[in-house]
Amino acid sequence: MNITELRDHLCEQHPDLCPLFSIEFGDGVLSVSCDKLYEAASGLRDLGFDRLGMATAVDRGETFEVVYRLTSRSMSVGIFLKCHVPRDAPKTNSLFPLWPAALWQEREIFDMFGIDFEGHPDMRRILLPDDWVGHPLRRDYTDDRMIRRPDYI
């Protein structure tokens, strides 16, 4: 199944999600608001997206963009599920109940971005020590030990 077929299929099954779907760089992207995230995700799971491939976040300035990449084995197609959480109150729903694969990946996002996932059973740091201060993948993170490399280019 290619992207346009996926869009048609999605629009047929979930007309409410249809306007949120777009195609960027050849990948299907479903941008939702974060309070609808869980709903959209469970809709996608019912549609046949049985794998949560990747979960990550991107610092977009005012907001953090939480990105999930879902894959469907039956349809052989992938889709991005994105939502923006505000920087001052980074909180969204966990997709752990839908895909247990989110267990560690959301922990990593919490570790690196400080985004709190509600409904996640084990919201602790994963890669960094528990007493670490700050969330390093935020663009404004600074640390005494960080070395600013020569700004050549």
């Binding site: 760089f25 895909w99 247990p100």
Partner: protein, 381 residues
């Protein structure tokens, strides 16, 4: 399984005496953790009641480092992700960059990439099989597997000058063309490797003790494998027929005829044997690729040294030896990526350890861990 954090718990035995649960700290420096992983193991006698992996000991902040580097400077960093299979991270990263920057790769380069990655698959599986054998004390099997790996590593050295961190796949192509006589040596290796594989199959997978150690251990149901995001031999060992080379074909893979080995029991044995059979398939792919390989350039012409793609994000994934390795790059313009995320298969597979190790003995814990084949450069990034 339970997920809440528990400290050592004290319970009362039947006769009223306090009994303390034995907590063993396997790692972070331990022969069988394949790197620096720490597993907090709660033991009831020898039975593992709970195994909790603690990772991050090899966390070098590679994703953070990428933010401060140009696209080309990230390539050597990807070598250090999965140091057993550097080619994969190279390739996945380069694919994402190429997609983002709209670079078209010459056909010969694609073939070279396929060849080196299939060689890398053999090398990585040999490492995995060997060290999984060493986990159970079969040091000789370990050496035999490493003999095979050594041949590949030598071929890699002749190809690109490095034995471990190749930095071979670059955005737009590969760094070197094959030297003279190299393909002959490669084909000769494929021939001898099959013989060695059959021998290993008998020595290791046919052995009654090895089967006793692997059969029925660490069983992962197919549904769990999918839901927990397992990929690669871990998922295929459970019977999940999922291989990106077939199901989301990339590069020139559709031109090759190969099979996907899958297990049925989902135990350690099937996972390991899937790896063994994949080596046969890799040999087949290499032979076909060498026969089909066209001439021509190995690098895209007119490639900017300073790659500065347009704003946007791109995700690409390939089937590495450990599963689907994805790279997600967000560009906001300019010569440096805004964010690079490596979706490492080892990280996702390792999350399964508590699931599969529970209820087995301490000796099986290391076998389960070895069967997931984690490489901690990739887990911790």
């Amino acid at each position: 399984m339970t997920l809440e954090v528990e400290s050592r718990k004290e319970t009362l035995a039947e006769d009223g005496l306090p009994v303390e649960e034995l907590v063993v700290n396997v790692g972070p420096s331990h022969p069988s953790t394949h790197g620096v992983c720490r597993v907090i193991v709660h033991l009831d006698g020898e039975i593992v009641t709970r195994a909790e992996p603690v990772i991050g000991y090899l966390h070098r902040g590679i994703e953070k480092m990428c933010e401060n580097r140009t696209y080309l400077q990230v390539v050597p960093l990807t070598d250090r992700l999965d140091y057993v299979g550097s080619m994969y991270a190279n390739w996945a990263y380069c694919r994402a960059v190429e997609r983002l920057a709209g670079i078209r790769v010459p056909e010969r380069a694609e073939y070279l990439r396929v060849i080196v990655c299939e060689m890398q698959r053999i090398a990585s599986h040999m490492m995995s099989l060997g060290s999984a054998a060493a986990d159970t004390g079969a040091a000789t099997m370990f050496i035999y597997a490493f003999d095979e790996r050594e041949t590949i590593v030598e071929l890699f050295e002749d190809l690109c000058g490095a034995r471990l961190t190749y930095n071979y796949v670059r955005p737009g192509g590969v760094s070197f063309d094959i030297p003279e006589g190299w393909t002959d040596r490669l084909l000769e290796f494929c021939r001898t490797h099959r013989v060695a594989l059959r021998e290993m199959d008998k020595l290791w997978f046919g052995n009654v003790i090895a089967r006793g150690r692997m059969k029925g251990i660490g069983v992962l149901a197919a549904d769990d494998a999918v839901a927990w995001g397992a990929s690669g031999p871990v998922a295929r060992g459970s019977g999940v027929n999922w291989d990106l080379r077939k199901h989301d074909p990339y590069s020139v893979y559709p031109r090759f005829d190969f099979d996907i080995p899958t297990g049925s029991a989902g135990d350690v044995y099937d996972r390991a044997r899937v790896r063994l059979y994949e080596c046969y398939e890799s040999c087949r792919i290499i032979e076909q690729a060498v026969a089909q390989m066209p001439g021509g350039p190995i690098k895209a012409e007119g490639l900017q040294r300073l790659i500065a793609p347009r704003p946007g994000d791109a995700y690409d994934h390939i089937e590495s030896a450990r599963g689907s390795l994805g790279v997600y790059i967000v560009s906001e313009g300019g010569p440096r990526p805004h964010r690079v995320k490596f979706r490492s298969p080892a990280f996702c597979n390792l999350a399964l350890l508590p699931l599969i190790a529970e209820g087995h003995m301490l000796s099986d814990l290391v076998v389960c861990l070895g069967s997931l084949d984690p490489v901690f450069g990739e887990v911790d990034r």
